[in-house]
Amino acid sequence: MAGVIDRLSILCFAGTYALALVAELSRFVMRSTARWYTAFGLTVLGWVVQTLFLANYAFKRASAAPVSTAFESMMLLSWIVALIGLYWMIRSPRALAVGLFVLPLVLGLVVIAGWFAPRESDWTQWGGTIAFWGTVHGVFLLLGAVFTSVAFFVGLMYLVQARRLKAKKPSRTEIGLPSLEQSERIHRAAITIAFPLLTFGLLIGIVLSFLGTADIEATPVHVIRLTDPKVLSALLMWLVFASLLHARFRPAMRGRNMMVLTIVAFGFMVFAWVGVEALRLRTAHGKVVNTEGTTRP
């Protein structure tokens, strides 16, 4: 029942974000100064409702930080991305189509979190050192994801702008985009910050798997095997990020290639987070596993 109510609450702010997106999409068919105010107002409203939802959720869970499950982390990620979008909307000229790129991302994250992300995790019950490092693991990954998301939507903006400039055709609709140089600069900064955060987050996760086993089973076996789909997807994500960082220093990879690689990296990140659960693949991430390798009920 609580899950149904939760989903109805999520539907409220997701619906508000969706309406804001509709207002943004109206750029393609009509011109009006009211459009910016409508889109901005609806985004603020959605964000406020989401804030109340998260506050209420944190109060009910009474956990140290709302990053103990994939659901909490993704919900928090969408909340931060929406805040970044709002900040950018205020700071930039009104013709700039920030909402057109940020709102689908926010909406996608909210929907994925609400309907696909697991809401339970065993490690939260363990307490002590594991709970602390588990929180650190979650916070690092969340911050890394925030910067990856920024790099993702800025990368999309870059690709659209580059395509428009290459096509040499004037824009038929009022869709302002940042210059290629600005997108490239923001993207570069976001990737540079995201990579170490994600690396530390993953490293802590690996160490945590040993600690978790020692604490509970008193037998040093790997809770999560290297062949676990969660581990594999996280590893792939890290490799894409590493190549992205490497590409930063290779002139030939500048521009479009970097942006495409960022989109791939973002895709791996989302898959690593919720894809495994969404596809119902067997994973031991966040679960207590006995020596036979089966998850404990």
């Binding site: 011109r31 009006s32 100064t33 702008q161 428009r164 400039l165 290459k166 040499k168 055709k169 004037p170 038929r172 009022e174 985009l177 940042p178 210059s179 290629l180 140089e181 600005q182 490239e184 600069r185 002139p251 030939a252 500048r254 521009g255 479009r256 290639n257």
Partner: protein, 439 residues
Amino acid sequence: MRLLAIGVDHRSAPASVREALAFDQGKLGPALEFFSRALEDQEVAILSTCNRVELYLASPGESDPLTSTASDLLAQFHGIDPCVFANHLVTYHDQGVVGHLFRVASSIESLVLGEGQILGQVRDAYQASTERKTAGVILHTLFQSALRVGKLVRERTGMDQGRLSVASVALDVARGVFDSFTDKTVLVLGAGKMGELTLERLRTMSPGRILVVNRDPNRAIEAAARWNGQAMPFDQLDAALTAADVVVSTTAATEPIVTYNRYVRVQKARRNRLALILDIAVPRDFDPAIGDLDQVMLYHVDDLRSQAESNLLERRKGIEPALAIIDREAAACYNRLVHQRDAGLLLQELGLHADRIRERELAALFAAQPDLSPTAREAISRMAIRLQNQFLHHPRAAVRSAVEEPHHDHPTGHPHPVLTFVRHIFGLGDRGSNSLKRL
């Protein structure tokens, strides 16, 4: 209430006539005072730009501002023979004035369709007449509405969007590629006229450095001195291309001077930084295949021209919806002006009507009570005035607010329903029937 607009524009008169009638900043103030003095009770505003000189006159009464008088005054002020411009004058009357000013403010009447300057010029004309106190209720309403409609048309139709000249389009493209120009190097290759115009536009973005390369070293030095740039020998073209972020190329070469392979080497040396090449030369100076390189935006003059033409077509598409907005708003504005006039007359009639009733009743009372002291009579008279004012307060407020609100649904020439209602309940009869005489 009558309105008149009289003047010349880029369609009706050559530049020499427009110049003869122009009011520059120094002349505008004295001119407004001159016309205001000469035309006594009429409101005056003057719109003077490169492409038009127009005199806007509004008369609160029913006397028509005469075209001949306005024309004579124009000639008198400028000290020229009226015959010089008589055949070029264009006039508009009443609702036509409203529609014309709205079209002007919306830049439908401009030489460059959709240009943005005219709205500011209409605002300046209005401000000047307000400062000189030559604009009254009618011109306040007219010009404020014109400024609002001008903005509305731009917002709804996007008529001000997109650049119309090759140089401006080039500037827009540059803004799409680069965020800031203060740290950028602009290379000018050759010395064509179009290249100069483009560079002139780019210089408004304050580029960090300008390099000039020309086959003729003397011309390069001359151009570099003119643009505060640095001349480089032609044999160092590759080095110049490597340093440059924006290239404006306008040589008279008969075949491309920068081939694909040559630029690939340059781009490698540039560490694949973003580059914008504006190839203004005909035939091309840069191999078109260079535009396929990921970080290079290559625009030929034909691309820029085709964007400018496309923008003009887009602006033209906005004319029809713009005219629909203007027609609707002009009718509403004229209705409002007529209703304002009617409201003024009604309030005057209402006051006189109430005054007469009050005076008649006071006279009857004082005749019936001859023993009343002067103090008592004075007190009763004051009370009667206060009562009258309090009774009339709400009807007056209702009349004023009713005419301030836009009513698109009232056809022009029909009285405002609130005004008709007030007229009816106070027994003032129909407009023009002069019910006061019946009292």
